[in-house]
Point group: C2
Chain length 408, copies 2
Amino acid sequence: MDIAILGYGTVGVGTVNVVTRNREIIADDSGEVLRVKAILDLKDFPGDPYEEKIVHNFEDILNDPTIEVVAETMGGLHPAFEYISQLLEAGKSVVTSNKDLVAAYGEELLEIAAKHHVDFFYEASVGGGIPIMRMINECMIQERLQEIMAILNGTTNYILTEMEEEGTSFEEALEDAQEMGYAELHPESDVEGMDAARKLAILSTHSYSVDVDWEQIERRGITKITQEDMAVAKAIDHHIKLIARSRMNGSRLFAGVEPMLLPEEHKLAQVEGVYNSIMIKGNCLDDITVQGKGAGSLPTGSAVAADIVMAAINKKDGVTSTTYHEYKKIKPESYSSLGQSYMLRTDGKVPMPQEGIISAIQIENIYAYFTKQMKSQELRDLIQQLEIRGIQVLNCLAMEQEDTGANR
Amino acid sequence: MDIAILGYGTVGVGTVNVVTRNREIIADDSGEVLRVKAILDLKDFPGDPYEEKIVHNFEDILNDPTIEVVAETMGGLHPAFEYISQLLEAGKSVVTSNKDLVAAYGEELLEIAAKHHVDFFYEASVGGGIPIMRMINECMIQERLQEIMAILNGTTNYILTEMEEEGTSFEEALEDAQEMGYAELHPESDVEGMDAARKLAILSTHSYSVDVDWEQIERRGITKITQEDMAVAKAIDHHIKLIARSRMNGSRLFAGVEPMLLPEEHKLAQVEGVYNSIMIKGNCLDDITVQGKGAGSLPTGSAVAADIVMAAINKKDGVTSTTYHEYKKIKPESYSSLGQSYMLRTDGKVPMPQEGIISAIQIENIYAYFTKQMKSQELRDLIQQLEIRGIQVLNCLAMEQEDTGANR
């Protein structure tokens, strides 16, 4: 079967590598020999083993009737959306690693795919190499999914791990990550939590069968995390992680992305470097946690290749797995409206007792206070009371205390 | 669609509960409303909500043309094998949680299913609620799988966790586990590693496309683990876990089940209680680790229900996902022939230097020595040399030292 790739960047190259390297085993498993017939890119790649396959004109792929499955790995919203729409309408199945696109236009593209009886898959858009979309859609079809708690952004996880292990500042760790190629030159989408919010919206939409707009998910990034916060975390055997989570409570959805303090024994506390990890909870199955490489050319390319193979098998069998449901739009509420406990780091000693604060720790001139479970208004009141008493709150981090069934 | 259950024990009850509780969401996701039409059991269940569905005669299910999918949750080899064969031959799809059966007759049953164009699934036979079979067969179809390292037996993991956290002896922890219903009255299959070896054989067969006989897998159980071993583990920040692992090196398969010392930061070191965890490594994807409840009525019932739903969707679409391949039989070699390092606990102090030993630790009258990487003959020689010097080795545990990509 002939396939094509749109975009010969990191993920595109990884996809071609996986499909080539594992051609034989894919043929054994699926009954289909996959041939990369064309790769769309603006540039030429002289000397590249796939040099001959590079095309500069999208129509060469769109109008080639032998190409049955196309992988979009170019990124960005436009022209990716227009290209994919046309390919689906032309009866080709499309798979993508483009999370921005899926978060913005996923539902539209699913609708077009279902209408034209082709597949539209996007495994690689969330969790890199982790097969989380297929797990949700095929392995947990019998479950009422209720909760997601995840590390979905490898860049911020790498930065936080660096800060924790090397004692570097956020700025230094970010520079390191940029040098290593783990962070982009304009890292806002990662460090401000937008990337994690997009992925959380995609996961939540499919887990709970509701339409979640990523821009409505409350988020805080990691730019304000300091070595003082790391020192407090270490002193109480916790780790600071950028956590994306959502919970379906009846007809209410709670969702958020924020840096949190997780106790040592929490499953997500031990996830280091560029790994992603996703805990998902069903009403019968309880919790399942999957961990794997959240980025990288080969792991992400492998997830794209998985989609290509499944789409190819479906093409061969004359079936599709893609369905479109018009889900009800739901506005996510903030976790702070549910109530949680916090670590408040202050610029000075708070005279005790202070209502709402249940414990404290001082490390040299670092002062940290731990609150009882409280909702957002109570938290605002507490911070204001401290201000009245002459104490400024320098940073405020949510804490995970409940046992989410993590390690027991 | 009508379904039936064979065996109304722990897993059978769980399966009925999941199918009933999630009937609506299953119908939304799959387009099929599942009705439990008959439950085969020797006993009656007066007062049970499904009392009316209990039948005592297998033929009532076999000869009922409206029953299209049957779940076998009765356990044991016979008559489970004969029942399932007849059901498959009668054109019904069958799913099972019975690992003994799958380890012994899995290939035969797959062949019968493929011949009669029906499905034979066994997700629940490995890893309880963890969807590992579907992950291997559908989510990693693009990968050349190379390595498995896993905690596959919840009973022994519970016992080891108890011994570590409560300081109890193996015998006391086993009694506790029996009281809690986590261990059977005759626990040999669990504590001697047979259960883990069966599951490892099933996983390895499907991961590497070779025919692995579980009885040929070298195994050691946990009955000889003592509080002295736990004290050594604690002193060096390790945990003792019953590890099932296999590795495909070219055309050679290495496989084994044995208690091992894992460093704190190893992904499997933190898995506690009745959880199972499976790390699987592919040639492009790198490592993926899945953790979840390895036992229990609802988690295991949920895995059975997943299979029922997938078989029902296939029935509706007139397709099957079950294929049969006659895999080449392969004799697994022992990990000790690959070379690994060991902790030797002895009855007295070993005068240094001693060839092969690179470090030592003494805790009161507990003496432990750590070897360099060595193969089995070297290890035997070392133990013999110590005996000549008047030192008995009381226990010998393999250590995991390499970075398996666990947490980085």
